[in-house]
């Protein structure tokens, strides 16, 4: 009996502990879904849902970093030196790559063509006397088309809006779609954000605790910062199925110290390599740093993994 109670109590404790400790995991899943690109003015806008108390704190933190960017140059100068070191193995003489003189004398094939072409057409044909219908083959009769009333200037190549464009549903309103889309997404994002935040934080108290993991809004900020610098190769085959992982070590000021591609098999897959390198460039691009992360939670983000997957940009 006593043992039974003990076990029962124990199991209850287990449940409670698992529920408590397991939560971060739940939240992570939730975070993975929220990829919305929303233009942010201040942190306040995004943090709209819970944590009202936090705002001021965050604001301070986020404003502070601005002066810091200047110090950045400091981290940079050392870099060249660091690089200067590696080169020795493959220093200037680096003649290794260039020598590829295989393309010895590329002969311009064209010149011959023209003259001969003209002579030939005459001699060649020994046409058969089969004279018959002479229906026009492919050429679509432009005369018939001349009746068509519509006119429209060749639409100007509009800026890169979505990755893949179609004119299909676009007859009435051409370019502006992207904007609208963004609007919609914004709306969606708001509701879904609330949901997510509710889900993620629902069981918890709202007050801000430094030891806690980063909040969704904080992570989302970084996500957007990086997304702005991620210039991915458009139109790559199967791009939507590629997942690139980059391990990042951070400096305390929110700049990236080191970043490494974790994926393997890059050498054998040029598409994957191109995608991975575009992700790496996004992480290393100083224009999108320092990441707007709360300095007092440095322990939480001194190392992190950034996962790049453009699936959201390709719709279906």
């Amino acid at each position: 009996m006593g043992i039974g109670v003990a076990i029962s109590v124990f199991l209850h404790v287990v449940m409670v502990v698992v529920a408590y400790v397991g939560l971060p995991n739940l939240r992570r899943d939730v975070m993975m879904e929220a990829p919305i690109m929303v233009e942010l003015v201040t942190v306040a806008e995004i943090t709209n849902a819970p944590q009202p108390d936090v705002k001021p704190e965050e604001k301070k933190k986020l404003e502070e970093p601005k002066p810091e960017p200047k110090p950045e140059p400091k981290p940079e100068p050392p870099k060249p030196e660091v690089k200067a070191a590696p080169p020795p193995p493959a220093p200037e003489p680096e003649p290794a790559p260039p020598p590829e003189p295989e393309e010895v004398a590329i002969v311009p094939p064209p010149p011959e063509a023209k003259p001969k072409a003209k002579e030939k057409p005459k001699p060649k044909p020994e046409p058969k006397p089969v004279v018959k219908e002479k229906p026009k083959p492919k050429p679509k009769a432009p005369t018939a088309l001349a009746k068509v009333k519509l006119k429209r200037k060749p639409k100007p190549p509009d800026a890169f809006a979505g990755v893949l464009k179609t004119l299909k549903d676009l007859k009435s309103q051409p370019a502006p779609i992207p904007e609208d889309k963004k609007e919609e997404e914004k709306k969606d994002s708001k509701t879904s954000f609330e949901d997510q935040i509710a889900k993620a934080l629902g069981s918890k108290k709202r007050n801000f605790d430094q030891s806690r993991p980063l909040s969704i809004s904080e992570i989302d900020l970084v996500r957007q910062q990086i997304a702005k610098c991620w210039n991915l190769p458009a139109g790559a085959k199967d791009a939507e199925n590629m997942v690139i992982e980059i391990a990042v070590a951070m400096n305390t000021d929110g700049t990236v110290r080191t970043a490494n591609i974790k994926n393997t098999g890059l050498q054998s897959d040029p598409f994957l390599r191109a995608m991975a390198e575009s992700a790496l460039r996004a992480v290393l691009n100083r224009r999108c740093q320092p990441f707007k992360l709360p300095r007092d939670k440095y322990d939480r983000w001194k190392t992190m993994t950034l996962i790049f997957n453009p699936k959201e940009m390709f719709g279906s």
Binding site: P87, E112, K114, P121, V131, K171, V222, P233, E277
Partner: protein, 441 residues
């Protein structure tokens, strides 16, 4: 009992640790931008004025190639902090980051003692501070433009992961004269419009040129002697021959991906069917047998399937069948008429012309008919042709002829698969029916 309790305790502790350990921060980035990549192409350095001249020309051609692809934004050289520097020294990456160059191209031209031109280049990743690729080429100096295109291809391939298409040519039909008495000549030019020349003199009507995917050969339709027939023309040798000896009119020819076969339509007694001819054995095989009009066939890159258009279902639609002619399946189901399907060299898409609502469209769909997207639209757009890497299409666009006979201009355009980067291809005269060559061997 205590063992059970202990085990439980240990399990809990382990679980707790596991959860803690997993708590490393992971951030998903599921969106990015598709802006052109800022790239700095410096003038290739040279020791003599002649070499420098070549160097400047080459980097201009490279920058233009990359810019036209829509995937790169060559930076204005006036913004460069570090100036032209040979490919042998390590760039000052910081200087390039300041102007937001993400990639850097440096090179050198050199006329070697035997009179040939040596062109070497390196592509640097400015952020990773690494060389991405470095190559050297030798050629006769007159061929410098081609080397520039080859270098562009190398850069494109390294950064996008996809083969380039700059070292290619376009054949097309050049048109002059009034609409009712058009003079049509076969013309050829480099992909960037340079090196333009005519292949035929305009004495005979020529239509629908198509490049062999493996050779510098063209197949096309010529009305020589008022007899419409399919011919094959070798660009290098200038040799031209009529393809096969058919009882009816043959048209809409196209090579198979391996270049060994030509597939085409033959019209006889008012009905047209699809035939294929093996170029090595000259054997001809009939693939369709239907009272409807079957035409515009195109092989898949693996040669296993054929797409064509047919009105067997009542209106003109796209179909796919096995290379043997079996298993015909309709793939287009949208409103309107579909025509001239062309299988992408990459295999993932079929480009087509669509006519609906009084307008023409150039579009693409997957071989199963799904994912239809329309990329270009106008009064008349037609004849899509793929760049060898399957990422860019070229077609022609004709404006309406006005009542007074003016207008009716016809021009070539290229558009990439995203649909965002449409460019006119400059030709000296009116142009139609473009055909993109494979990469020049």
């Amino acid at each position: 009992m205590t063992t059970i309790v202990r085990t439980l305790l240990a399990t809990i502790l382990c679980a707790a640790f596991a959860f803690q350990a997993q708590a490393e921060l992971r951030i998903d980035i599921t969106r990015g931008t598709v802006e052109p990549l800022p790239i700095a192409v410096t003038d290739f350095v040279g020791g003599t004025t002649v070499e420098q001249e070549y160097g400047r020309g080459i980097s201009r051609v490279i920058a233009a190639d990359l810019e036209r692809s829509g995937l790169f934004k060559p930076l204005d050289s006036r913004a460069f902090i570090q100036n032209s520097q040979g490919p042998g020294t390590l760039p000052r990456f910081g200087d390039w980051r300041v102007i937001n160059a993400q990639a850097l191209v440096q090179g050198r031209t050199q006329v070697v003692p035997d009179g040939r031109l040596k062109v070497e280049f390196r592509l640097w990743d400015v952020y990773a501070e690494q060389q991405m690729v470095g190559l050297a080429y030798f050629t006769v100096p007159d061929n410098w433009r081609r080397v520039a295109h080859i270098v562009s291809d190398a850069i494109y391939k390294r950064i996008t992961g996809e083969s380039g298409y700059f070292d290619t040519r376009i054949v097309y039909i050049s048109e002059t004269g009034p609409q009712n008495r058009r003079i049509k000549r076969l013309a050829i030019m480099d992909q960037d419009g340079d090196n333009h020349r005519f292949l035929t003199d305009g004495g005979t009507l020529v239509l629908t040129p198509r490049f062999s995917p493996t050779l510098q050969e063209i197949t096309y339709l010529s009305y020589y002697g008022n007899q419409p027939r399919v011919y094959i023309f070798n660009i290098d040798s200038g040799r031209q021959e009529v393809l096969g000896d058919f009882p009816g009119m043959t048209f809409a020819p196209r090579f198979s991906a391996d270049g060994n076969k030509v597939i085409m339509s033959m019209a006889k007694d008012g009905n047209s069917e699809i035939y294929t001819m093996d170029l090595r054995t000259r054997t001809v095989k009939r693939l369709t047998n239907h009272s409807a009009i079957d035409t515009s066939p195109s092989y898949s890159p693996d040669g296993k399937y054929i797409t064509f258009n047919s009105d067997r279902g009542g209106s003109q639609q796209l179909y796919v069948m096995e290379a043997s002619g079996a298993g015909v399946k309709r793939i287009s189901h949208g409103k309107g008429r579909y025509a001239t399907p062309v299988w992408s060299p990459r295999g993932d898409l079929i480009a087509f012309t669509k006519f609906t609502g009084g307008r023409f469209f150039i579009g693409v769909m997957r071989p199963d008919g799904k994912g239809e997207r329309l990329l270009a639209e106008d009064f008349l757009v037609e004849a899509p042709t793929w760049a060898p890497n399957g990422r860019v299409l070229m077609f022609f666009r004709q404006e309406r002829t006005k009542e007074d006979g003016s207008g009716g201009k016809s021009r070539l355009y290229s558009i990439d698969l995203t649909g965002h980067n449409e460019r006119q291809v400059i030709t000296p005269l009116d142009a139609s029916d473009p055909a993109w060559s494979p990469l020049i061997p």
